[in-house]
């Protein structure tokens, strides 16, 4: 079980470099498709951590929004903070009513995730950059190694009998460190002083 995971990470790193995604196409409901670098550059906050708390409520306009508190493990953009509290549109109230936005990812309390969040608008809302693309679920194998599941990406293939991996241009499980390095590189100031 571990071997496929490790192999998957390797494939992921190679494959991501070949990923022919670009900003021209659009996604979900309706969103520009972005790669890791574009997500990082478009976001004001980039961090991973665990969702500690979620509270949905109606704002002054009567629209449901949800306040999340995340315990930050690693902050890539937006400065170091032990916790981050932010509000996303949508959510569900105690009476079962709610606001659903197709394409917007859901965050579950207790879930570990890497998030790319926009700056806060005048209404106090942030959004995951590129909606579902702005959330990568953080998973660990039995040895504690971290991977990121980009749930809208394609899947790494493995033969159920042999465990051999088939090539995949975009793996569903991305090596955490590889992604982290891409984020850092994308956010690093250009040597040309851009």
């Amino acid at each position: 079980m571990l071997r496929p995971l490790i192999a998957a990470f390797g494939v992921a790193v190679a494959a991501l470099c070949l990923c022919p995604v670009g900003p021209r196409a659009v996604d979900a409901g309706t969103v520009v498709r972005m790669d890791i670098e574009q997500l990082a550059r478009s976001a004001e906050l980039v961090f991973d951590g665990r969702v500690l708390f979620a509270r949905s409520f109606r704002d002054e306009r009567g629209l449901v929004r949800t306040e999340y508190t995340v315990s930050v493990a690693t902050s890539f953009a937006g400065g170091p903070q032990a916790t981050r509290t932010f509000e996303l549109p949508g959510g569900q109230l105690a009476d079962g009513s709610g606001l659903l936005i197709p394409g917007l990812p859901r965050l579950e309390v207790g879930e570990d995730a890497l998030l790319f969040l926009t700056r806060e608008g005048s209404s106090g809302l942030r959004l995951p950059v590129g909606l579902a693309q702005g959330k990568l679920r953080l998973v660990r194998d039995g040895a504690g190694r971290a991977g990121l599941v980009r749930e809208n990406a394609d899947l790494t293939l493995a033969d159920p009998q042999t465990g051999a991996l088939a090539p995949a241009p975009v793996p569903s499980v991305l090596a955490y460190e590889a992604v982290a390095e891409r984020i850092r590189a994308a956010l690093r100031p250009s040597t040309e002083g851009r």
Binding site: V26, G29, T30, N152
Partner: protein, 741 residues
């Protein structure tokens, strides 16, 4: 195609347990799986914000949005109806969050708060719901602050119609579809503009929400061949006897499924993993999606119209090293009937030894090249007149991967070759003939903000494959617009800048069309859109005595000019827009009519009348009842005898009771003079009042009378008529006598 790795990480579970999903995928309340629904699906109000996009001309967004609405309203067998509220007050609203309005709105300054800078979001559809799934409100918001929009395929902008059709599917309560050619497929290729064409899967979704009659359904349970365990969240697809994609659903937590919304017929079913290019992340939540298996085609199963049939078990095999389609591939793969198309798809497990085929045997697929194991380039040949619809693609390398509805069989693009006339007034009313090819029944035409749909009231008429006719409607902004013919399938033909809605003045008639070169001729210019400031020129000379009577009438007393050939008369408005007509100066003095005697006669005609004035010629003719502004119409005198330049003897024609104009026309020069209400017809039964006289003491010169048209004569004639009433008894004898002569 999903494998142990995925299982090792845990199933991709978006939410709690799923129940049986309906065709195709419905939006759900994430907490209790309740499908979201409209309480009144047959009359869902929708309002198109009048503000539109700041990238588009005013109103340009409306036809695109209406086409998208119309596509959903036309979904076969569906009871869903979006009803547009076109009241200006509703269209001016922006409070999309209010439950009592369902808006399609371009948010140009992120007032919604849903489009912070960098969000990458082009459009969204917030859906507010109650616990039981009842939809309280849904609105479509376009991110006008972050993106550009187009209705003409402009590069770097998103097509309003495509985005709207997709988002309206969400508004109606549908989630994303795994059928690659569906409107609710989550990825849109901006290079393929198909506007609002719905796939059978989309229509099935609409029928699942609300059907006009009970459609057929197929049910069963998805089990693994390996161990007979159930498969949850499998993408179950029905393929009809022609190999066309007919419907789809997701299996529930116990592996059971029901595909609803089908027509009666024979189907082959299969369950495919929903992992690429559409995956669980494209769904709104509520489904558990298992993907570690490969499809096996079932035996054909028949179902009668409106009936239900059970397949029993739908088997799936062990996971395969074959995967077809990625989310960066550009869907739908549009293959034109009667043509060959070349496409590229990505995936895995490809290469020599693999086969790529279509589910419809008449649609041939031939791989041209395999690039490694991850890309294939292939041709698709579609016979002429092949029915439209969607076809699955199958990749087989020993294992099987099926991409549902990957190929969309589309008709040839309409071609617009000529639009005649190419110009018309902004207020509409112009009969237009559009010529071209590949026009099909049900086509629509878009010119500016107006949508003309075949057969609709105020729409267009598809005469044949080469001709469409319509009468233009008024639009709000003058300008030159594309003429776009849109096939019911969504493909379009466009003739750029082919019709000009003009706000320029328009001259219909100049009366009289000629006048003396000495000037002083009173002429009426009738037309449209005469708005101050107005300049009138004749042969380049600015006319000084111009009266703007109304937006359809100008009165001018001419300046002197040069006799000769007709010269240009121009009316220019404040925008320097110019309308032109012809006017001719002559050496001959204008006719002058100063007296009509008697001015009253029988409706049967035959009254001998003496016209007195000046400049009459032997070419003079007389007309009773001509239009006082245009000189058109009326009835010529029964006879005209030229006595001298000051006198004409005229026999009146028959006429209807009432006051009529009298016009003296010169048939050679087109000079004329006209007196409004110069002669009054009285019915004999009413006791005629002959003997009246149109001579007026102190009357203005006749050319001036003509200048003022009827207005100067009405008080005079009213006086005469009053006198006539007082003397009716005596006069009637005289009248009868005169009439009998």
């Amino acid at each position: 195609m999903e494998a142990r790795l995925r299982l090792a990480l845990g199933l991709t579970t978006a939410a709690a347990l799923a129940t049986v999903a309906a065709t195709h995928v419905r939006l759900r309340n994430p907490s209790n799986e309740a499908e979201l629904f409209w309480p009144n699906p047959g009359a869902i109000g929708i309002v198109l914000s009048s503000a539109g996009s700041d990238n588009l001309a005013p109103g340009e967004h409306l036809p695109a949005l209406r086409l998208a609405i119309d596509a959903w309203n036309r979904a076969s067998g569906s009871g869903l109806t979006l009803v547009e509220n076109t009241s200006p007050s509703a269209q001016s609203r922006t409070d999309w969050g209010n439950d009592n309005v369902h808006l399609m709105l371009f948010d140009e300054s992120n007032t919604s708060g849903y489009f912070p800078q960098g969000s990458g979001t082009v459009a969204i559809t917030p859906v507010q719901y109650f616990s039981n799934g009842r939809i309280a409100d849904a609105d479509v918001l376009f991110n006008g602050s972050g993106f550009n929009f187009t209705t003409s395929g402009a590069l770097g902008a998103f097509d309003v119609g495509d985005v709207a059709a997709h988002e309206l599917g969400h508004l109606l309560g549908l989630d994303h579809s795994g059928v690659a050619g569906a409107t609710l497929y989550p990825y849109v290729d901006p290079t393929v503009i198909e506007h609002s064409s719905l796939a059978e899967d989309d229509e099935g979704g609409a029928r699942a929400i609300s059907a006009t009659s009970t459609p057929a359904s197929l049910s069963g349970t998805v089990l693994r061949q390996l161990d007979s365990s159930t498969v949850e969240g499998a993408h179950v697809v029905a393929r009809d006897a022609n190999g066309r994609t007919a419907g789809a659903t997701l299996s529930g937590s116990d592996g059971t499924f029901t595909i609803r919304g089908l027509a009666g017929g024979t189907y082959t079913l299969y369950a495919a993993p929903l992992d690429a290019p559409v995956s669980v992340a494209n769904l709104g939540g509520g489904q558990t999606i298992q993907t570690n298996f490969q499809p096996i085609l079932s035996a054909p199963i028949a179902v009668a119209a409106g009936a239900s049939a059970s397949l029993g078990t739908l088997w799936v095999g062990i996971d395969a090293l074959a995967s077809l389609g990625r989310n960066y591939d550009e869907f739908p793969l549009r293959a034109t009937a009667g043509a060959q198309s070349v496409f590229v798809l990505h995936g895995s497990g490809m290469g020599n030894g693999s086969t790529l085929t279509s589910s419809d045997p008449s649609v041939s697929v031939s791989p041209l090249s395999w690039t490694g194991t991850t890309m294939v380039t292939f041709t698709v040949n579609v016979p002429q007149n092949e029915p439209l619809g969607h076809v699955d693609l199958e990749l087989n390398n020993g294992g099987l991967s099926i991409l549902a509805g990957a190929i969309e069989i589309a008709p040839p693009d309409p071609v617009v070759t000529q639009v005649a006339p190419a110009q018309g007034p902004i207020d509409g009313g112009t009969s237009v003939v559009i010529q071209g090819s590949a026009f099909r029944p049900g086509a629509s035409v878009v010119i500016g903000e107006q949508l003309y749909t075949d057969g609709a009231v105020g729409g267009c008429t598809v005469v044949d494959a080469n001709t469409i006719t319509l009468v233009t409607s008024a639009i709000s902004t003058a300008g030159t617009y594309d003429v776009v013919v849109i096939d019911p399938s969504g493909v379009e033909g466009r003739a750029p800048a082919s019709f000009d809605f003009s706000s320029a003045p328009q001259i219909d008639i100049v009366f009289p069309a000629a006048g003396a070169d000495t000037g002083g001729t009173a002429i009426s210019i009738s037309g449209e859109r005469f708005v101050a400031p107005i300049i009138v020129r004749i042969d380049g000379v600015v006319q000084q005595d111009v009266t703007l009577v109304s937006d359809t009438l100008l009165q001018v007393v001419t300046e002197p000019g040069s006799a000769g050939a007709p010269v240009t008369l121009e009316v220019e408005d404040g925008n320097q827009a110019i309308a032109s007509a012809l006017f001719q100066y002559t050496l001959q003095a204008d006719p002058v009519l100063s007296m009509v005697s008697p001015s009253v006669g029988a409706t049967s005609g035959g009254t001998e009348v003496t016209l007195s004035g000046a400049n009459f010629t032997q070419n003079s003719s007389v007309v009773f009842g001509a239009d006082q502004v245009t000189g058109l119409g009326g009835t010529a005198a029964a006879s005209v005898t030229w006595v001298d330049a000051q006198t004409l003897l005229v026999m009146t024609p028959a006429g209807s009771a009432g006051a009529k104009s009298v016009a003296v026309l010169d048939g050679t020069t087109s000079q004329a003079t006209l007196v409004g209400a110069g002669f009054t017809y009285q019915s004999q039964g009413g006791g005629g009042g002959g003997g009246g006289c149109g001579s007026i003491a102190g009357a203005p010169p006749m050319d001036a009378a003509a200048r003022w048209g009827a207005a100067g004569w009405i008080p005079v004639l009213a006086l005469l008529l009053a006198l006539s009433q007082l003397r009716r008894r005596q006069a009637s004898l005289s009248f009868v006598r005169v009439a009998r002569r």
